[in-house]
């Protein structure tokens, strides 16, 4: 029930700190949780992707993550420096449905925080949880090394419970993935992100 009650807490906090304050708060919570998860190291992409599939990585705390190993990301030399990853269900969707059947409707606080984030930080959120979630993944990625290199995370696309979709134009360009490919993925997945070796010379950097 604490997940359903979270919206009430956010309502309270918006009254005290505004939606902007809640966004900052959520991001700090993402930093803190990532900081408590510890470091991980993998010999290469194969071992990392197996670990993701078997839910052994810090990313697995979110739920079932699918490594899309047919969608590799290459650097300017054509070497594989990352992959796309996707979740079939957004972490927050069960809570939205639970709220529907427990309370009746989602709190307007959810929308207020989502809009604040989209307008002023990154236009990718479909619910207030995206605010925390994006920062959490970015911080977690720094603590995971593949072949000795820490990772960087780019949130590419999201699909909300009512069907609305968001695609991050800047991140799609950054990892050099065709936007149509990402849009097609949203038919089966609700959250798509890329993990790449930090500092890799991506084609989108040029």
């Amino acid at each position: 029930m604490i997940d359903v009650a979270l919206a009430s807490l956010i309502e309270d906090m918006i009254e005290k700190a505004g939606a902007e304050g809640v966004v900052e708060f959520w991001q700090r919570v993402g930093d803190n949780l990532a900081g408590r998860m510890g470091k991980e190291a993998y010999l290469g992409w194969t071992s990392f992707n197996v670990a993701v599939r078997e839910a052994r990585t810090a990313f697995s705390i979110e739920g079932e993550v699918t490594p899309l190993t047919d969608m590799a990301i290459t650097d300017v030399d054509g070497d594989v420096v990352g992959y796309l990853y996707a979740m079939r269900q957004c972490c927050y969707v069960p809570t939205i449905f639970r709220t529907r059947f427990a309370v009746g409707r989602m709190s307007p606080a959810d929308k207020a925080v989502t809009e604040e984030y989209n307008e002023n930080v990154h236009n990718i959120a479909v619910c207030n949880f995206c605010v925390f979630h994006e920062r959490f993944r970015e911080e977690i990625a720094k603590n995971v090394t593949v072949s000795g290199n820490p990772l960087a995370c780019f949130l590419l696309a999201t699909r909300g419970w009512s069907g609305e979709t968001k695609i991050s134009s800047k991140n799609v360009v950054q990892v050099n993935i065709n936007e149509d490919h990402v849009r097609a993925l949203l038919r089966n997945y609700e959250c798509v992100y890329a993990l790449v070796l930090r500092g890799a010379r991506l084609k989108g950097d040029r």
């Binding site: 604490i2 997940d3 807490l9 309502e11 949780l33 972490c91 927050y92 809570t95 059947f101 009746g104």
Partner: protein, 203 residues
């Protein structure tokens, strides 16, 4: 969790994030401030849910048992007597297990705020989530009418996932047991297999 097929389980990650949210909040507003936030969010949650009315006490207890009442929205409730309710599992158990597995041991502030609540309000909380649970049940019960009467909630005892039990001592406990219609031995039996024992009575 009620066995209603529409009410799916939450993703434990949301619960973990909420616990971290509360920890960060406590760092800013202190234990007393966190207690106030927990009480407030539980009251707001109950206030957002529809009111209920029942013609008789037996109809009301049947609704609680069958997960049709506000009081059994988030947990499976088993009536022991007409007044005494028991909860098989804490609605926070999955989140706690996932937190322990993925993050580590619970931050001390969750126990500290429970101690504050036990001292200031009533001695029935083991961790922060019990403050939410007790306050929610109390506020939810106040939204129910049975015939011409309101409904009053009072916790008897709480047993946390790690086995820690919190209950009042002495005459207070004896009074609760008498009103609930159970013995001290029966309470011990219930706490072995259940997470919470509580009392509902006409207000």
């Amino acid at each position: 969790m009620p066995s209603d097929a529409r009410m799916q389980d939450s993703n434990p990650f949301v619960e973990i994030a909420t616990h971290l949210f509360l920890e960060d909040l406590a760092a800013k507003v202190g234990v007393a401030g966190l207690n106030n936030y927990l009480v407030s969010l539980a009251k707001n949650l109950a206030a957002a849910m529809p009111r209920e009315e029942y013609a008789s006490w037996s109809e009301f207890v049947g609704a609680v048992r069958d997960s049709q009442s506000i009081l059994s929205t988030f947990e499976e409730v088993r009536p022991v007597t007409e007044r005494c309710m028991s909860t098989l599992r804490s609605p926070f158990e999955r989140g706690w297990r996932e937190y322990a597995k993925r993050v580590g041991s619970f931050a001390p502030v969750h126990r500290e705020v429970a101690e504050y609540y036990n001292h200031k309000v009533r001695p029935t909380a083991v961790t922060s989530v019990h403050i939410v649970l007790h306050t929610f049940r109390e506020a939810a019960a106040a939204r129910i009418r049975v015939g011409d009467d309101g409904v009053r909630y009072e916790p008897v005892a709480a047993a946390w996932v790690d086995g820690t039990v919190q209950l009042p001592e002495g005459p207070k406990l004896e009074s609760l047991l008498k009103r609930a219609g159970i013995t001290r031995t029966k309470l011990g039996m219930l706490l072995r297999n259940h997470s919470d024992v509580w009392l509902l009575e006409p207000a």
